[in-house]
Amino acid sequence: MAQFRVCPDSGFYFDKSAESLMKVHAVAGVVALLVAGIMALGVVLTRWQEVHLLPADMFYQVLTSHGINALIFWIIFFEIAVLYFASSTLLRTRLAAPRWAWAGFALMIIGAVMNNVAVMQGNSSVMMTSYVPMQAAPHFYLGLILFAVGALIGTFVFFGTLVIAKEDKTYDGSIPLVTFGALTAAIIAVFTIACGAIILVPTFLWSIGYINHIDAEMYRVLWWGLGHSSQQINVAAQVSIWYLIVGILFGARPMSEKVSRGAFLLYILFLQLASAHHILVDPGMSSEWKVFNTSYAMYLAVLASMIHGLTVPGSMEVAQRSKGLTKGLFEWLRKAPWGNPVFSAFFLSLLLFGFIGGITGVVMGTEQINLIIHNTIYVPAHFHATVVTGTTLTFMALTYLLIPVLFRRALFLPWIARIQPYVFASGMTLMILFMLGAGTLGVSRRHWDMDFTGAALSFEYPGTAYMMMAVAAIGGVLGIVGGAMYLTVTVGSLLFGKKLEPSAGILQSFIGLPLADSAYTVEQPARLEMAPKLPVEEHGSGGFEAPGTFVLAMFLLVSFVVYYFINWDYLSSVWPLS
C-alpha cells in the first residue's frame, strides 16, 4: 500500500506516519509558544517599573510559566518534528516504530499539560530551574519528567529511523549534512535527558516526602547538566536548519563536508561541559573545574560555532557567486531575497545569534567575569539573544518553508509573513540590548520590584537603569507583536490558507489526520542519490571563495575581541577579591 506522498513543489517524499507526527509536534510547539508569548506580556509589563502590571505572586507564576513553555515545551516539541524530518523525509524512509512515536508524543502532551496545570494552580512558582530546597507541587516535577521521557522516545525513534534507512539502503553514500547535524542534536539530547532524569526523579520523590533531603549544590550542578545541555541541542538543531535553508533557497553546497561535520563533532564532545558556567560563583567547585568546563574544553565547542558562522553564509555566498552575483564584496547579500521570510528570518537569526548571543555568552561564561553578571538581568538578555533571536527565529523561518510543503496550505496574509521577522527581530534586539545595559548597572533578574517596596533598608538604582528597563519593555512588547504576527500567519494558514492539496483540511493540519488516499502514490521512493559532482569554480578572490563572508567573520571577531576586553576592564574596577 502506498504510504509516501511526493511534494510537487519541493520534491520531498513524506511518509504518512512521519508526516502526521511532524504536524502534531509542530502544532503542539506553536501552542506552547502562544502560552509563552501571553505570559511574556505579563513579564515585560511588570518589569517596566512605571507600569508594574502584576502583583508579586502572579508575576513569579507568570515568569515560571513563560520560561518553561518557551524554553522547554515550544522548543522541544518543534525539535522532535525536526528530527523526524531530518530522518524520515530527508532519507526517504518510513519512520521507525510509529506507535512508539505516538506514545512519546502522548507523554509529552500529558507532561506539558500537567506541568502547566501545576504552575497555574499557584503553588509551583519556582521558575524553570526549581532550585531545591524551594519546592513545587509533585505534579510540577512529574510533568517535566513525563515530557522528557516522551522526548527521549522520540529521539530513539529518530535513531531507529536512521538504522532502517541504512539497512533498506534508501540513500547512497553518507547521510546528508543536515541529518548529521540533527544526529548531533539527538546525541546531545540523550545526555541531556539522562541528566534531567537523574536530578528530577529524586526531586519528585522528595516533593512527595519519599526522600528526605536533596543537597542544594548537587541539585544545581545536575540540573544545569539538563538545563544548559538542552540549549546545546538547540544550537545543533538550528545550525542544521541553517544549512537546510541555504541548501533549499540557494542550492548551496557545504564549503567542506569535513569541516562542517567536524564542527558538529566538536559540539558532541564538548558542549555538555559548558553547563559549568552556571556554577562559576557557587561554593564547592574548584577553579580548575570551572575554567576547564566553562571554556567547553578550551573553547573548542565555541570554535565549532565560529566555524559554522563562516561556512553557513559562506556556502550561500559561493552559490550566489556562481549565479553571477560577483560584484564587489556583498552583492550576493544585497541581492538576497530579503522579502522572503524564510531567508530574512534565517539570516537575522544568524547575525543576532552570532553577534549578540554568542559573544555575550562566552564573555559572561568567563570564570572571573561571571561575578559581575551572575543573576543580573544581563543573563536573560543573553539567552533571549540565543534562544529567541537564534533558535526561535530559525524555527520561524523553517515554519514558513514547511507550511506549504508539509501542511499543503498557502501562507495566509503573506504580507504579514514578509515583515514579521523584522518586527520580531527588532523588538527582541531592542529588549536584549537594553536588558544587557540594565544588567551591567546591577539590575536583578527574576525580581518583582526594583524599588524594593517593603524592605527594611533602602537602595536606589541610578535613573539610567529605570530608563533602560522601560526601553527594554517596549522592545519586548514589539517582540511580542512580532510573535503574534507569526502565530497569525501560522494558525491562519492552517485555517484559512488556500489548500494546495484539496484534502489538507483542519483535521489534517491540527491533529495530523492523513490526507486523502489519492495523495499517497509512492510505495517506495527512488533511492536518494549522492549530490552531483560539480567542477570546482573560482568566483572569489585570492583563493578565498567567499570573501564577503570572510569580511563579516572578521568583523565578528573584532567585535568579539573588543567586547571581551571591555568586560575584563569592568571587572578590574571591582573590589579586589581572592
Binding site: 513569579y60 532550585y131 524551594m134 553514500g173 553518507s174 546528508p176 549534512l177 543536515v178 542544594a216 549544590e217 544545581r220 533549499i248 548551496a252 553546497r253 557545504p254 563536508e257 569535513k258 569541516v259 562559576l280 560563583v281 561554593p283 577553579s287 575554567v291 578550551m298 573553547y299 573548542l300 570554535l303 565560529m306 566555524i307 561556512t311 559562506g314 568567563t366 572571573q368 561575578l371 553578571i373 543573576n375 543580573t376 551591567t440 548597572l441 546591577g442 533578574r445 527574576r446 525580581h447 518583582w448 524594593f452 527594611a456 533598608l457 537602595f459 538604582y461 549522492m530 549530490a531 559532482k533 583563493g543 570572510f550 567573520a553 571581551y564 578590574s572 571591582v574 579586589p576 581572592s578
Partner: protein, 179 residues
C-alpha cells in the same frame, strides 16, 4: 543543494579543505586559546578571583558563628538589624535567610576581610551594589571570599536569586568608612 543530499564524494573526509576555511579556523582557534589562557592569567595577575574555599555546614552551625561575631563586635542597630564593626583582617559571617541579610557591616576602606557566606534556608543571591559583585549563597555550604573594599560609601546587598514572595524585600547593607 547538497546540504540535504548525501555528499557528492563518497570519501568526503579526504576532500581538501579550502584556504578560506583553514585561515578562519586558524584565526578562530588562536582567539579561543587566548580566551582560555586569560582565565589562568587572571588568577595569577588579576585582582578579582574567587577563592575556592568552601565548607559543608548547617544552618545552626553557621548561625552560631554569626551570633558569636555579632556579640563581640556589634556597634549599633538599624531597622532592627545589628550593625557589626569587625576588626580589619578578620573572618566575618553574613547569612541570608527568607527574607533578610544579617547582619549589617561597617568595614574600613582598603582593609581586607574574609567574608563567609551561607544561607539558612533556600538559595539566595549576594549582589553587592553598585559595585555589582554577585555570588551564590547556598544552604549547607559556607563560601569564603576575601574582600578588600577599595572605596568608601554605602553599599546594598540585593538578593538576586529568586526566593519566594518576599524576594524583593531582601536588602542588606555594608558601610565602608574611610580610616
Amino acid at each position: 543543494m547538497s546540504s540535504f543530499l548525501p555528499p557528492s564524494e563518497r570519501i568526503w573526509w579526504n576532500v581538501p579543505v579550502g584556504k578560506q576555511e583553514i585561515v578562519w579556523i586558524g584565526i578562530a582557534l588562536i582567539w579561543c586559546l587566548i580566551m582560555f589562557f586569560m582565565m589562568p592569567y587572571w588568577h595569577i595577575y588579576g585582582k578579582q578571583n574567587l577563592s575556592n574555599e568552601a565548607y559543608q555546614t548547617t544552618p545552626a552551625k553557621f548561625q552560631a558563628k554569626v551570633d558569636e561575631m555579632v556579640e563581640k563586635y556589634k556597634v549599633g542597630e538599624e531597622a532592627g538589624i545589628p550593625i557589626v564593626k569587625p576588626p580589619a583582617g578578620s573572618d566575618i559571617y553574613l547569612l541570608g535567610r527568607l527574607w533578610q541579610w544579617y547582619p549589617i557591616f561597617e568595614l574600613e576602606k582598603n582593609q581586607t576581610y574574609r567574608v563567609h557566606l551561607s544561607s539558612m534556608d533556600w538559595n539566595h543571591g549576594f549582589s553587592l551594589q553598585p559595585v555589582n559583585i554577585n555570588l551564590q549563597v547556598v544552604p549547607g555550604y559556607e563560601m569564603v571570599v576575601t574582600m578588600t573594599p577599595d572605596q568608601a560609601g554605602e553599599y546594598a546587598i540585593v538578593c538576586n536569586e529568586y526566593c519566594g514572595i518576599g524576594h524583593h524585600t531582601m536588602l542588606g547593607k555594608i558601610y565602608v568608612k574611610e580610616n
